[in-house]
Symmetry: C2
Subunit: 260 residues, 2 copies
DNA sequence: TCGATTTTGTGAATGCCTTCACAAGGGCGT
DNA sequence: ACGCCCTTGTGAAGGCATTCACAAAATCGA
């Protein structure tokens, strides 16, 4: 769901990487999505000076159940100590390394309208392993402006900018009718991962990963459940706390997913 | 990947709603998340004057496979015609009704910083069944300002505003350290569905639904796959199109998910 | 009227994810 | 040193979700 969910995995991973000693193993998609959540929970614990956590407390902090957490972590290897728990710093490193966050990753942001400007200023990217390295827009009135220390480049220079900075990840925040075009150019320039805010299905070759964020869809899913709740109670007073109707949910990237 | 996924369903739905004739049936969570996508695809078709679609074309437009689409739609009832396809207008209505979008739903938006202002101006909400009915912030410098036809209210009046407008859905766009507090107040005021942008796990009673949008997590999931791709190719020239490495993905609210 | 053709709706099969439940492992107190 | 107690790591079971594959339905042309 949440989120959107995942699909079509064209990989025929069977059994050939058993030989590798280190971090090479197939990790379930659902697990990957949760690693990011664990990472944030761990950061919070570290800030509070906590050096060790049990699967139970970490699971609570991350909002999942502890069996799931342990199973998830077991895919990375065996980094817990029985009877004790997990070392916060060590586990943090392991997850960061699994997610490929050891050095900051360069990100291009295309489209600096309302949403794009909010994203450009979002501190949560930098603090979680990403560096916005290119700002691109089509509006001549905007090009050349400095925003957060970067100069906005014209979309005509997209390929050149992406190539010269060796950018693999891009965020699309342009109007829906420009999205596929921008996407094609990004892919041609070598981008292999795209986060898409435009409400449209992007067509990409199979080596490119697309995740989308669809806010209206999120609200519609909430609407569905809300609708059900209301129906089931046939109009009890609105302010009465209703108990045990439907378990609450959180998205995961699960915001869920679809494939091409 | 997506997106995140969903969890803990506390409902003990067994077999008591079979009796109801109409739209009452248990619909899988994964299906609900996709209905929103189908709805957008249908809107696009209608705009292009198309009156009928086969499951194949609609599936393509929505980026899923046709068997899945048909199975999904079969949960709503039997609205297709064999040998012909689905009537675009009829199917649109059915999905809208299933999602509870027959009349616009009122939404409160809390936090009008960078992100909140972008959201307040987002046309995609209004066009897809939602009406932002309340803008709320804590900053006195902002309160009283008019934004998109609405006056920004002080957070002290939150309960009053939510109750008087009978708002069931809220969007949280406040800093992370204010999020739980705002959430508690919303719940106390009768809100039962929350879309959360603050990067934190919200604690809510079981009758409240929370979905979260976590942009850093989305990027981290992309980073994971990107990392894998790179490793597997041991540094082929960056601009060469690589074929068949990993199937591309789109989120679903699936944005993955966790439960409380 | 009837058969050819198209496309839906759905049982059955498969696979992925979650949850259970417990044996194995490790620290710590005595 | 030893045994107690706590917590991990993981087989096994159960539940959802996706995909397959085909019979049933409906149109259309002859
Ligand atoms: N505003 C929101 O809160 C919000 C929420 C969810 C999704 N979205 C989606 O995000 C996208 C952007 O939304 P917005 O509100 O920021 O729109 P906006 O109109 O404010 O900004 C769009 C920006 O993209 C630029 N642009 C247009 N064509 C371009 C091109 N070919 N190449 C590069 N830049 C180009 C424009 O110059 C403009 O600066 C839209 O697709 C919208 O549906 C927005
Ligand atoms: N900016 C982004 O692109 C972005 C992206 C993803 C997530 N987020 C998250 O969204 C939230 C908002 O981000 P932002 O960039 O808009 O921050 P911001 O600081 O620009 O805006 C926060 C707003 O919330 C208001 N506020 C603070 N406490 C409040 C309270 N108790 N009640 C009501 N209003 C209150 C502030 O007055 C301010 O207007 C943050 O949690 C951030 O992590 C932001």
């Amino acid at each position: 769901m949440t989120a959107q969910r995942d699909e079509l995995n064209a990989v025929s991973d069977t059994a050939d990487q058993r030989v590798v000693p280190g971090t090479e193993r197939t990790i379930p998609e659902a697990t990957v999505a949760r690693l990011a959540i664990y990472l944030r929970a761990l950061t919070g614990l570290a800030e509070r000076g906590i050096g060790t956590v049990s699967s139970d407390s970490l699971a609570t902090a991350a909002g999942v159940n502890s069996a799931k957490l342990r199973k998830d972590l077991s895919h990375l290897g065996s980094y817990g100590v029985r009877g004790v728990g997990y070392d916060v710093a060590l586990l943090t490193d392991q997850i960061r390394s699994t997610l490929g966050l050891n050095e900051n990753r360069a990100v291009a942001l295309i489209g600096l309208g309302h949403l794009g400007q909010a994203l450009a200023g979002y501190a949560g990217f930098a603090s979680r392993g990403f560096r916005i390295s290119a700002l691109i827009d089509a509006d001549p009135a905007m090009v050349g402006d400095r925003l957060r220390g970067l100069i906005i480049q014209h979309v005509d220079a997209l390929e050149q900018v992406v190539r010269s900075e060796n950018i693999a990840i891009a965020v699309i925040a342009v109007p829906v009718n420009a999205a596929q075009d921008v996407c094609d150019r990004l892919v041609a320039a070598g981008v292999t991962s795209i986060l898409n805010f435009a409400p449209t299905v992007l067509n990409v070759p199979s080596h490119v990963d697309v995740r989308k964020v669809d806010l209206a869809a999120e609200l519609q899913i909430l609407s569905f459940h809300d609708n059900r709740k209301g129906a089931r109670q046939d109009f009890a007073p609105a302010s009465v706390a209703r108990v045990g109707a439907v378990g609450s949910r959180l998205t995961t990237t699960d915001s869920m997913v679809a494939a091409t």
